[in-house]
C-alpha cells in the first residue's frame, strides 16, 4: 500500500472544481450584527437605565473580544494550485465554530475556553519507525520548513463544511527529514494532554466521553500524499487555540475529525494505530473516514452538506458532497480495489 513515488509534485492545471470568487466583504456579517442589535433598540433601553446596569447589559449582549489569544503574522508563499479562487469562510466563523472537545462540546466552547491556552514552549516529537527521531520546539514549527498557504475545503462528519486558507508545510517534508524506515506503514498522531488547561480532559461532562489524549492515524501513503498538510496558521497568522495551535494536521479529503489538533507526538508505526472516534463508536466512524456521499453516517445523510460561507443565518447553502471532498484526482488511487463501504 505504501507508494512513496506518488509524492511527486508536478505541474498542475487548475482543478475543475475551482470556483470564481464572489466579491463579498468578509467583514459584513460582523458589522451587520452590530446594526441588528442596535436596531432592536438596545440603545433606547440603555438610555433609560443607570450606567452600571448598562455596563452589565452590554457586557451580556454586546460585542466581546473573541480572540484574546495573541497570534502573529507568518511569512509564507501562496500556493496558487490549491483553491485560491474559492469563496472562503470568514475568519470570524472559522474561529468561533469549532469542534475541539478538549475545550468543551459546544461549537462556541473552544473559542470561549481556549483563549488562555499556552502554546509556548511546545514540543512536537517525531519517533517510531524513523531513522532520525527529532523533537521540534515552538520556533521550529514555523521556521524549519518553508511555509505555504493552501485554501482547502473542510468537510465535517456532521455534514457542514468550510473553506479555509491554511498556512503550513506538507507532512511529507517532515517525514522525509526524519526518514521513514521500511517497516513504517502507518503514522499515529497525538494531541496534547493537559487537563489543567483543557477542561474537557478534566471533566467527562465537558469532554463528551472521549478517551483522552485524542489520537488519530493515517496510512503512510496518505501521510506522504501531497495534500496532507501540517498547519501552523490560517488567514496568514499563527493558529488560534480553538483551531489547533500551535500545529495541527489537515487532511482535506477526509472528515474533519481526522485533522487532529495541537499535536505533541507523531509516531511512525508498523501497524494501524487506534483512532479516537473509531474507538468510541466503531460502527459510526472508521479508520479511513474518507468523505463519501455514498456512505451515510448511520444517523444522518452524508449526501449533502451545509456550506458555511459569508453572510447571516440563512446565507449557508446546501450543496452536494463530492467523493473525497472533491480531491479524488489526488487521492482516489490510494484506495484502488478497496471497498469503501467496508473501509469507511
Amino acid at each position: 500500500m505504501a507508494n512513496h513515488s506518488r509524492f511527486t509534485p508536478g505541474i498542475l492545471k487548475k482543478a475543475r472544481w475551482h470556483m470564481q470568487d464572489n466579491q463579498v466583504t468578509p467583514e459584513s456579517v460582523f458589522k451587520a450584527r452590530r446594526h441588528i442589535v442596535k436596531a432592536m433598540g438596545l440603545g433606547a433601553i440603555g438610555a433609560s437605565i443607570p450606567g452600571y446596569v448598562q455596563a452589565g447589559l452590554f457586557d451580556l449582549f454586546g460585542e466581546q473580544p473573541k480572540t484574546s489569544f495573541i497570534t502573529t503574522p507568518l511569512t509564507f508563499e501562496a500556493n496558487a494550485r490549491f483553491g485560491q479562487d474559492e469563496v472562503r469562510t470568514p475568519f470570524d466563523k472559522v474561529s468561533t465554530h469549532n469542534n475541539f472537545y478538549e475545550f468543551g462540546t459546544s461549537k462556541q466552547d473552544p473559542s470561549d475556553n481556549a483563549q488562555r491556552y499556552k502554546v509556548e514552549p511546545w514540543q512536537l516529537r517525531i519517533e517510531g519507525e524513523v531513522e532520525r527521531p527529532i523533537t521540534l520546539d515552538y520556533q521550529d514549527l514555523t521556521k524549519m520548513f518553508p511555509l505555504e498557504e493552501r485554501t482547502y475545503r473542510l468537510r465535517c462528519v456532521e455534514a457542514w463544511s468550510m473553506v479555509i486558507p491554511w498556512v503550513g508545510f506538507p507532512l511529507a517534508a517532515l517525514l522525509k527529514k526524519v526518514g521513514v524506515t521500511s517497516k513504517g506503514k502507518y503514522v499515529a498522531f497525538e494531541t496534547a494532554f493537559d487537563p489543567e488547561q483543557m477542561p474537557g480532559q478534566k471533566s467527562r461532562l465537558m469532554g463528551g466521553g472521549i478517551h483522552y489524549p485524542y489520537v488519530e492515524g493515517l496510512t503512510i501513503a496518505e501521510a506522504m500524499n501531497e495534500l496532507t498538510l501540517m498547519s501552523v496558521g490560517l488567514y496568514g497568522k499563527t493558529l488560534l487555540p480553538q483551531n489547533g495551535a500551535p500545529i495541527r494536521l489537515v487532511v482535506p479529503w477526509k472528515y474533519g475529525f481526522k485533522s487532529i489538533k495541537s499535536i505533541v507526538r507523531i509516531r511512525v508505526m508498523d501497524k494501524q494505530p487506534p483512532t479516537s472516534w473509531n474507538q468510541l463508536a466503531p460502527h459510526e466512524y472508521g479508520f479511513y473516514a474518507n468523505v463519501n456521499p455514498a456512505v451515510d453516517h448511520p444517523r444522518w445523510s452524508q449526501a449533502s452538506e451545509r456550506r458555511i460561507g459569508e453572510g447571516g443565518l440563512f446565507s449557508a447553502q446546501r450543496i452536494d458532497t463530492l467523493p473525497f471532498n472533491g480531491y479524488g484526482e489526488f487521492v482516489a488511487s490510494l484506495y484502488d480495489g478497496m471497498d469503501l463501504r467496508q473501509f469507511y
Binding site: 441588528i36 442589535v37 473573541k66 462540546t105 466521553g209 443565518l313 446546501r318
Partner: protein, 215 residues
C-alpha cells in the same frame, strides 16, 4: 377527582401565577435571540439554536409532568389550571426546534427532510413525539375537551408516550456526550414511575394509615 383540600387562590392571583409562568417560558427565547445576534452562540449558531430549542421543549415537558405531583403532594389544586399553559410551551419549543432544523440546517430541502425523517430512527422518534404533542395542543381547548368526552383523556394520555420518546430522541441524536441525555431519561423515568398504579396505591394507603393514627 383529587384527594386534596385545595388551597384557594383568587382568579386574580391565578392570573399572576400564569403570567410568571409565561415569563419563564418566554425569557429563554429572548435570551436565545440576543445570544445569536450578539455572536455569543458562535460563528455559525445553527446547531446551537436547534439544541437550545430542543432542550427547551424537554424542560417544558418536565415542568408539565411535574405539575400534578406537586399539586397533589402540596395540596395545591389550583395549580392544575396552569398545566395547559405549560404544556403549550412544549408545543411552542418543539415547533421552533423543527422549524430551525428544517430552515437553518436543511435550508428548506423538502426531499431531504422527508428522507431524513424516514431513514433516521432518532429523527423518526422525535417526529412521532411531535405529532402527538401537536394533537394534544390542537385539542387543548376546553370546548373540544367537553365535546370529546372520555376520548379526550385517552388522547391526552399520549403525553406519557412523548415522555418516553423525547428523551430517547435526545439520547440517540448526540455524538458522544451522553451524560446530559442520560439525566433526562432518569428524570422522565421518575416522573412516569410516580404515576404507576402500584405507587399510587401505596401513597393512598399511607395517607389512610396516617389518618387512622390521628384518630
Amino acid at each position: 377527582m383529587f384527594n386534596i383540600t385545595a388551597l384557594r387562590v383568587s382568579p386574580k392571583q391565578l392570573l399572576w401565577v400564569k403570567l410568571v409562568f409565561h415569563l419563564i417560558g418566554l425569557i429563554p427565547i429572548i435570551w436565545l435571540v440576543f445570544t445569536v445576534l450578539s455572536g455569543r452562540a458562535g460563528g455559525d449558531p445553527v446547531q446551537h439554536i436547534i439544541h437550545f430549542t430542543g432542550i427547551g421543549a424537554l424542560n417544558a415537558l418536565l415542568a408539565t409532568l411535574l405539575i400534578s405531583p406537586i399539586a397533589k403532594r402540596f395540596k395545591l389544586g389550583w395549580l392544575m389550571q396552569t398545566r395547559r399553559l405549560v404544556g403549550l410551551y412544549v408545543f411552542a419549543y418543539a415547533t421552533l426546534h423543527i422549524v430551525a432544523f428544517f430552515s437553518l440546517d436543511l435550508l428548506f430541502a423538502w426531499g431531504l427532510f422527508f428522507t431524513e425523517v424516514a431513514k433516521r430512527p432518532y429523527i423518526l422518534v422525535g417526529a412521532v413525539a411531535y405529532v402527538i404533542v401537536s394533537a394534544l395542543a390542537f385539542t387543548s381547548f376546553k370546548i373540544l375537551m367537553r365535546k370529546m368526552g372520555r376520548r379526550w383523556q385517552t388522547l391526552h394520555n399520549g403525553v406519557y408516550l412523548v415522555a418516553i420518546l423525547a428523551p430517547i430522541h435526545f439520547y440517540w441524536s448526540v455524538k458522544s456526550e451522553i451524560v446530559e441525555p442520560s439525566l433526562y431519561i432518569v428524570g422522565f423515568s421518575l416522573l412516569l414511575a410516580w404515576r404507576l398504579p402500584i405507587w399510587q396505591k401505596m401513597r393512598t394507603s399511607r395517607l389512610a394509615m396516617a389518618a387512622k393514627d390521628k384518630q
